[in-house]
């Protein structure tokens, strides 16, 4: 019997090259390419009055200089609004190179092409851009006040007003036994993959074709964008995502200006051209996420059960809206989490600021929604004098309530209907895993050591695997090799392994024979991309369906060759055989040869196949109607709607009362992503997400000053967690398979990051007895909060909490 592969911690097939330095990342490609560097705006809001390139022309090795004036046709038009929405009433996007007005520090004004990057930067240094500075808007509150406008023709700074409601929330609040109202903030962080963006383009003039390598999460879409903007026919453009050094969302945006400008230069100069983003560029010209102001009104009964929830959000979308209002919609619709919310209203104003654009970063609006809902639960618990776990338990959707319709519309335009889950199960597992009931002893022990100890929890439901579709291609070669491809891309999620596990399992072949390619438009032209925890759900199922198609064809052909009914056949270890009758068999590779009526005897496999070739029916064509040569199949998976993963996290913090350093000493995760293909990979995703959650709660923020200068645009100043900042993580799994897809999968990629800020805020509040209403929080801020008599105090819930 074939070794069990599905659901096993199979070691990763991509690791061999990556641990020996044989990976092929963007900047590893094309050492002879011309190099691009950009002159970027030092101002957040300014009118370009003059660009003087004369001094740069003396630099030996300079090849070309481009400004907006050099852009032609569609390139001179604004970049696309990828995802329009009726409520996005004032969408604005930039140009590939600045036209007249800069709207955030870091926007590219001039592109320089030179023989190498050092020379290109020399030339950039010699270009003088003159600016007339304009008033700057930074932060949601300033955007809301609208004393100044980011875009002249959007005087209120409001890009979109998103609004959903499930009933008359004012009436429901008025009828509620108790109500609470509060305001809280969450700040910006960023994906910050270790590899920045990068583009390599080579034009073949003889063939009039373009090959582009780009560090992207969406190669098929970049291809379409390049074809449209550079006016090329789609079949003349190939886009390949090579090994990508992390994405976390920022590389789903497309086209980045550089993804158009670099190919444009490669065509114009008839030379390969490459741009590799440096770290500072990544900070000031890619994307950030998370800043919101949240005003929450909630009604509940004596037992702490929700009766009404009204949420008003101001969401900072930065200077432009190329990615539409996906992030605020996700916040608005995922905020309700695992709870029954009888009447819900959410209104989001998505506002412009003179800062880097805001597009999805792992979680994509969910951490903010979770922060709103979970902190609401904590407030209700405190007001009612109830345990925080108990309040949550009373409000959870019960296992017999699925499918559960929240009567909201998700980011994909489909209803928010939870497909399956067991939220009380998650909560029970979490309280056991973290030792929720034993915290008072630990608090006393910590107090004796001079530390403040606190515990917090947060639960979430995550819509994963949105459509519209992904596809998979599976082909068995005469050598026995099984080629698998899908259009979406990989940035470290182990797709080469997980998808190979699926094919090996479905087709009955050794995993060693399976080769997976992702993100290469030469291999698969139709794809959506890797985001929203959708790769395993979407491509995993598409590939499974494709493998089932191959299997069906293989059994049919083998049945003819062996003169048995296909339903009596099985495939095991690459051998098609009669069930229960070993010996009557044919290798799958031979079936692959038989599948093609043209089989010159180039090799042994073809020679062997001839012995199985039947006499043939002279009255029929060699390839029957509806059939095709080759043992291969393409299939697509297109879900009716997203599938909803869920989980619960708890954090225990210890706070030093001298330094006010906040140490996360324990972190517990219970996670439900349905059926698991590879538990090792899923746990790895959880670990990485939690690390980013801890970073977002305690360390990471984009420190813009009032002039729109990003003051911490380096790894020296932007504090990403090192190993010393990430706690050990205890994980427990729960599996409620999705009824929506053949494999029962739910997404797992983003989950780890979602509840971090909420759980850690709750734990700090529990430890200090001080209201935590702005995250992230630094030791200095916590010190100020504790010392400030005017700051909100939380009534002590337990003995041992700081008075």
């Amino acid at each position: 019997m074939t070794t069990k592969l599905f659901g096993e911690p199979v070691r990763r097939r991509e690791d061999g090259r990556l641990i020996t330095g044989r990976g092929r990342y963007l900047d590893d490609i094309g050492h002879d390419a011309l190099a691009v560097a950009f002159v970027r705006s030092p101002h957040a809001h300014a009118r370009v009055t003059d660009i003087d390139v004369d001094a740069a022309l003396d630099v030996e090795g300079l090849v070309a200089v481009y400004t907006y004036e050099d852009l032609l046709g569609p390139m001179a038009e604004p970049l696309p609004v990828l995802i329009p929405h009726p409520q996005l009433t004032a969408p604005r996007t930039g140009y590939p190179l600045v036209r007249d007005v800069v709207h955030h520090m870091g926007e590219a004004v001039v592109m320089v092409v030179a023989t190498d990057r050092y020379v290109a930067e020399d030339a950039c240094d010699r270009i003088t851009v003159s600016y007339e500075q304009l008033p700057v808007v930074v932060g949601v509150d300033a955007a809301r006040e609208a004393r100044h406008a980011v875009h002249e023709d959007v005087p209120d700074n409001v890009a979109a007003r998103h609004h959903q409601e499930t009933g008359d929330v004012e009436a429901a609040l008025a009828a509620s036994a108790h109500t609470l109202a509060f305001t809280q903030y969450i700040e910006r962080s960023a994906c910050m993959p270790m590899e920045g963006k990068g583009v390599h383009a080579a034009w073949d003039p003889a063939d009039s074709s373009l090959r582009v390598y780009t560090s992207t999460q969406a190669s098929t879409s970049v291809r379409a964008a390049i074809a449209a903007k550079l006016q090329l026919s789609l079949e003349k453009v190939e886009v390949v995502a090579p090994d990508v050094g992390g994405g976390f969302g920022v590389k789903i945006v497309h086209p980045w200006p550089e993804e158009l400008l670099v190919p444009m230069a490669a065509i114009a100069l008839q030379r390969p051209v490459k741009w590799t983003e440096d770290r500072r560029e990544h900070f000031i010209s890619s994307a950030h996420e998370r800043q919101q102001r949240q005003e929450i009104r909630v009604g509940y009964d004596d037992d702490g059960r929700l009766t009404a929830l009204d949420v008003r959000i101001w969401h900072d979308n930065g200077a432009y809206t190329p990615y539409g209002i996906i992030v605020p919609i996700v916040t608005a619709t995922q905020l309700v989490g695992p709870y029954v919310v009888p009447t819900y209203r959410v209104r989001v104003d998505s506002v412009y600021t003179n800062t880097v654009i805001v597009t999805p970063y792992r979680g994509a609006g969910r951490p903010q929604g979770c922060y709103a809902m979970e902190r609401t639960m904590d407030r209700i618990a405190q007001e009612r004098g109830l345990d925080r776990a108990e309040v949550r338990a009373r409000n959870l959707i019960q296992p017999d309530q699925f499918p559960y319709d929240h009567h909201l519309t998700f980011q994909d335009g489909r209803p928010v209907i939870y497909d399956s889950g067991d939220y009380p199960g998650l909560l029970d597992k979490l309280t056991a895993l973290v030792g929720w009931s034993g915290v008072e002893e630990r608090r006393a022990e910590a107090t004796a050591r001079g530390k403040l100890l606190g515990i917090g929890m947060a639960m979430y439901v995550e819509g994963t695997g949105p459509g519209p579709y992904e596809g998979g291609h599976v082909q068995v070669l005469g050598s026995g090799k099984v080629l698998v491809s899908t259009g979406l891309t990989s940035q470290g999620q182990g797709h080469e392994t997980a998808f190979a596990q699926i094919v090996a399992h479905e087709l009955g072949v050794p995993i060693e024979d399976v080769e997976v390619t992702t993100g290469d438009t030469r291999r698969f032209g139709y794809a959506v991309g890797t985001f929203a925890s959708r790769a395993a759900v979407m491509s995993g199922n598409a590939i499974a369906l494709a493998a089932r198609g191959v299997k069906e064809k293989a059994l049919r052909i083998a049945g003819e060759a062996l003169e048995v009914d296909p339903s009596d056949l099985e495939i095991d270890e690459g051998l098609v055989q009669v069930k229960g009758t070993p010996g009557i068999s044919i290798p799958l590779r031979t079936v692959a040869v038989l599948s093609n009526p043209l089989r010159y005897a180039f090799d042994e496999a073809a020679k062997q196949a001839t012995q199985f070739a039947g006499p043939g029916d002279d009255s029929k064509p060699p390839v029957a109607a509806g059939d095709a040569p080759g043992l291969e199949h393409v299939d697509y998976y297109s879900p009716v709607r997203s599938t909803f993963a869920s989980g619960a996290h708890a954090a225990v913090v210890e706070i030093d009362t001298l330094t006010w350093e906040i140490d996360v000493v324990q972190y517990a995760v219970v996670h439900d992503c349905g059926t698991i293909v590879n538990p090792m990979i899923v746990e790895g995703q959880v670990h990485g997400g939690v690390a980013q959650g801890v970073g977002g709660a305690l360390y990471e923020r984009m420190a813009y000053d009032a002039d729109g200068q990003l003051q911490n645009a380096s790894f020296m100043d932007f504090l990403m967690p090192y190993a010393s900042e990430v706690p050990d993580i205890d994980i427990d799994h729960q599996q409620t398979p999705s009824p929506l897809n053949p494999l029962g999968l739910k997404g797992a990629g983003e989950a780890g990051v979602i509840p971090g800020t909420a759980a850690i805020a709750s734990a700090i509040e529990d430890a200090t007895g001080r209201r935590i209403a702005a995250m992230p929080i630094s030791p200095t801020e916590l010190y100020d909060l504790v010392r400030d008599d005017a700051a909100g105090r939380v009534a002590p819930r337990r003995t041992g909490a700081m008075a």
């Binding site: 990976g23 630099v59 270790m194 090792m680 690390a691 990430v726």
Partner: protein
């Protein structure tokens, strides 16, 4: 015309160094970073550049056995030195194949990498850390924290990297028995 401001930074120098056990000679402008020389002049692209200001550690290589951030070293500074990159970490099995270093094996075994971009820097740092200690002694958590504490990884949350260090140390310890 050469711009005067360039000074001597782009004057070319020839550097001789032993790279991954092989004597190499390369001619680079004086300002060329070691990371760029390794990647673009010698084609050793396993060394990755994550920040170019010495914080992330992705570009870590061994200079005479000591981990250094190759983005903070000028190529001309390695004249006469031995440089080891991730490509030189495995050893030949003298039959056309290679034997992975225990830390490489451990990274695969423990799922200590995801996107793999920071991995070469971790491997070099940890390999040097393991080399510098008494292999007969079990490795402590503090030692492990020390070895991995100076490099950034955005994917793994470090848990499995720490596990891999323990695993590699145990393998090396077994081999010394």
């Amino acid at each position: 015309m050469r711009n005067r401001a360039m000074g001597q930074v782009d004057q070319e120098r020839t550097v001789s160094a032993v790279v991954n056990g092989t004597p190499r000679e390369f001619t680079v402008p004086a300002r060329r970073l070691l990371s760029d020389a390794l990647r673009h002049d010698l084609g050793l692209t396993g060394t990755h550049v994550g920040c170019e200001h010495g914080v992330c550690g992705a570009c870590t290589v061994l200079l005479d056995g000591v981990p250094v951030r190759s983005c903070l070293v000028l190529a001309v500074q390695v004249q006469g030195a031995a440089v080891t990159t991730v490509e030189g970490l495995a050893r030949s099995d003298h039959q056309g194949g290679e034997v992975l270093h225990p830390v490489q094996e451990a990274f695969r075994e423990c799922h200590a990498l995801q996107c793999g971009f920071c991995t070469p820097g971790f491997l070099m740092t940890i390999a040097a850390g393991l080399e510098a200690r008494d292999p007969a002694q079990p490795v402590t958590d503090d030692e492990v924290e020390d070895m991995v504490g100076g490099n950034l990884c955005r994917c793994t949350g470090y848990a499995n990297i720490k596990k891999a260090v323990h695993h590699a140390a145990a393998t090396i310890r077994e081999a010394t028995r």
